[in-house]
Amino acid sequence: MLRSSFTALGYRPDAVLRRVASRPRGGLLSGTGAPHAWSGNSDPAVNAGSEPRPDGASLESRLVMNADQIARACARMAHQILEANQGANDLVLMGIPTRGVPLAHRLAKVMDELESVRVPVGALDVTMYRDDLRRQPTRAVGHTDLPVEVEGSTVVLVDDVLYSGRTVRAALDALGDLGRPRVVRLAVLVDRGHRELPIHADHVGSYVPTRTGEHVSVRLAELDGINQVTIEPGSGPDRGES
């Protein structure tokens, strides 16, 4: 039943299976976070707000994460990152502009507050590595900041939304031109499905099923004055999502 309902919402069954297989054993429900969104429709992170119509379209924006939920997701991911790395050695968080950067800073702050470890935070702009540069007018380029050498590091890319996977592909290329990390992992606040490339996130704040026309809006206090994640009704492809 679970499988078929996700198919109706656009997830491919084998992708579902792959995600299940790659989850680190035993680590998922540890820590203080809410149950993973994966666990079904009872999770308040999913379907908060109005029930989607049978054809999936919604005319109102739906709140999927409020400030507390975002905070808990960040805390949980911070723990997971440290756990996967068995500590903070050689770790560097690279946020993908725009909102991946404040998120990366939040993760580092949690790591510092709760586990007293200082993890360097940087920014990795991927505009020049996008595969769709020619499809629109010249895009503005963001700032790249390397706090430490990439060579030999464990780089955790941080972004707000994982969608087609193309932004992460661009980030991997950009990272490759900066040096050769030992390991690269991916942490995202929201995974909204509809992957177009074989990319997956190691650490996910929340899985949010969406239709392709819809837009997932992540607002963070550092930039937008408010903390929330909403699904906005469709208006065409979104330039900011990955």
Binding site: D125, M128, Y129, L133, P137, T138, V141, T144, D173, D177
Partner: protein, 310 residues
Amino acid sequence: MRHLLSAADLDRDQITEILDLAEEMSLVQGRPVKKLPALRGRTVVNLFFEDSTRTRSSFEIAGKWLSADVINISAKGSSVSKGESLRDTVLTVAAMGVDALVIRHHASGAPWQASRWIDAHVLNAGDGTHEHPTQALLDAFTIRRHFRRSVDDQLNFEGKTVAIVGDITHSRVARSNVLLLNTLGAQVILVAPPTLLPSGVESWPVLVCNDFDQVLPRADIVMMLRVQRERMSGGYFPTPREYTIGYGLTRPRLGAMKPGAAICHPGPMNRGLEISADAADAANSLILDQVAAGVSVRMSVLYELLGGGE
């Protein structure tokens, strides 16, 4: 942005965007892989009708670091000398399928004429005595960094005075800088003997003065222009000695500069004529920074022209 022909083509926001991007581009210089894939598959031709090793190699590196294919064509001694018209030369090059033509020509206006004949993007790398927009951009980039050292977040040039000193009449660097600095909000003062000021300069958005010493203490930036000795045979000034004493950045003048002020020069310099050795090598000389800025700024401009869809 279709072409970059004149510094007046850019408004303040566009200039800021180009300079900000150039800051990002300047980081590429220090990386192990000096490459960004943004212009992969694009072809840029440097069509230079006038010699210029520095500008041309600056454009060449800029294009290559953005992964473009760059071709240099020196039209000086080629079919042009066999009487081929400018139009034929430009059309022949464009027919090979180029995305952008970077043109330097000894005659004013050549890039404008070229832009009417071809579909490719045209970038003016210096036309006669008319304009040199990328020079003005790299000057602004260098000056902005200098201002930022003293005041953090100095994003504009409001309230700043830039003195441009020398052969204004024959200087494309001067014309482009006047336009760009004006857009950025700086006050420009032109300093030259009357014979080296262009006709109609009264209508330019600048102040004009024949007395360097009067202007010097007010200037936050002193931009010295190269004076060609050949101008003497045109009777523009009597002797180099008289020029240097009247309009050169001599050692005493270096000492009379406003605290915090800096020196620029587009190069190449005539040490001892318009600029003393002391000034060229002074601590507040930005001349080498200008040279270093060339590649970053040109990468930024090439990306703005070619980085997006048509």
